[in-house]
């Protein structure tokens, strides 16, 4: 065994530089917007349902998406990630 294998626990990595900080800010704001839209939708959904006398919190927690919903979820999550990661990498994603 050559080097101490524990040195692999926290490897040195060629990551962002100071010059990337503006891209990072763009990404963080994009992300904040996405998170906000979702938060808003969730709170509105729960309020609408409560108006109809339905408490959905527990059911949401234990819900298993069917295949159709799962593929829609996958598609949406990939799109969100792409927008954020692309901002970070300086790639324009027109959406």
């Amino acid at each position: 065994m050559s080097a101490d294998p524990k040195s692999y626990n926290k490897p040195q990595r060629n990551m962002l530089l100071e010059t990337d900080v503006n891209g990072l800010a763009q990404a963080v704001v994009t992300l904040t917007q996405e998170v906000w839209v979702l938060n808003d939708r969730q709170m509105v959904t729960e309020a609408v349902l409560a108006k109809h006398g339905i408490d959905i919190a527990e059911e949401i927690d234990t819900f298993t998406p069917d295949e159709t919903l799962q593929s829609k979820l996958d598609e949406r999550s990939r799109a969100i990630m792409q927008r954020v990661f692309n901002s970070l990498g300086g790639i324009s994603s027109d959406e």
């Binding site: 065994m1 050559s2 080097a3 294998p5 524990k6 040195s7 692999y8 626990n9 490897p11 990595r13 060629n14 990551m15 962002l16 530089l17 010059t19 990337d20 891209g23 949401i60 927690d61 234990t62 819900f63 298993t64 799962q70 979820l73 996958d74 999550s77 990939r78 969100i80 990630m81 792409q82 954020v84 990661f85 692309n86 970070l88 990498g89 300086g90 790639i91 994603s93």
Partner: protein
Amino acid sequence: MSEELHARLRQRGRASVDFLANFGFGMSDLRDSVEEEIQRIVPDPDALPDDLDQRDARMQQSLGASQAYRATQAVGEWMATHHGLVAKHAFEEVREEMEPILKKFEQGGSTVEANPDKEAPAYWDGVDFHRTAGGWDEHDYQGYIHADIVHTRLVAKTFPGGIFAQRRMVAALPPKDHYDKIIDMGCSTGHFTRALQETYPDAEIYGVDLSLKTIQQAQRLGNANGWSWKLFQRPGEDTGFEDETFDLATSYILLHEIPADTIKALFKEAFRVLKPGGDMIMSDVTRYADLDKLAQWRADAGAKYGGEPHWRASASLDLAQIARDAGFVDVTAKAFDPFKYPYVVQGHKPE
């Protein structure tokens, strides 16, 4: 995995795990952009430096100028350091309902012999394999978390070739139709052990692994399926079994997690515990010798940032020669296309 053992995650855990499962797709534009950059800076892989460290330094220097590359590294680092945490948190949300089920499957024909007093080897102890903080044994239910969440819900979703199908394919390769007694070295949570049992339904299977938490999960998997596995927290290179005990000795992607001298010792141990006429099959990651210099660099960087301290040395070994040196005859080695993975070495102990 038996349905009962498969946790029904709560929304937060479920959505977070799905987020991880989709991560590679989320990075696809970045990766494409880095790929173009790599093609530009490495028109001829053969011209890269021979030395792997120098080659990495060259690549890092060139790619370091690319914002997309730096972003893949930063985003990839998040994945490396967070996947274990996300999986653990997802489990904690369902711990209360899962614990009785997990305990139930600790009873049955599959047994575990723990060895808490035996000192763990330096090549394993304290190493965060796969960058999972705390390594294989960090959490009470690390084996379960790894098998049910990390493996089944993440790795299995995207791994080329399919992690379970690949194991079944390899389990069917040994030459005989029937084996009485099998030892699976580095059996971990029992994915390959399962493929062996399904291929040789009457076989009596022994498993050894350094990690207690993972073999506890193998025990649950065995019991949930009505199998009687004998699992031991012992190193593969020093199993403690009598000479000439087994008809088949196996390992599946264990070798890249151990240093070269331990690999040699492990082949010798397999030879020792096999009966005359017994068979050996060991599978591991793509050999560097089967890759061009650029692909080697990719594998090597994956190991460096993926918590795999022994990968480089291990993937650089000629395993067929090591098998012959240990005494095996009729040794064959085959790299399966299209990724030259898994790399499978087989041999035979003379009568």
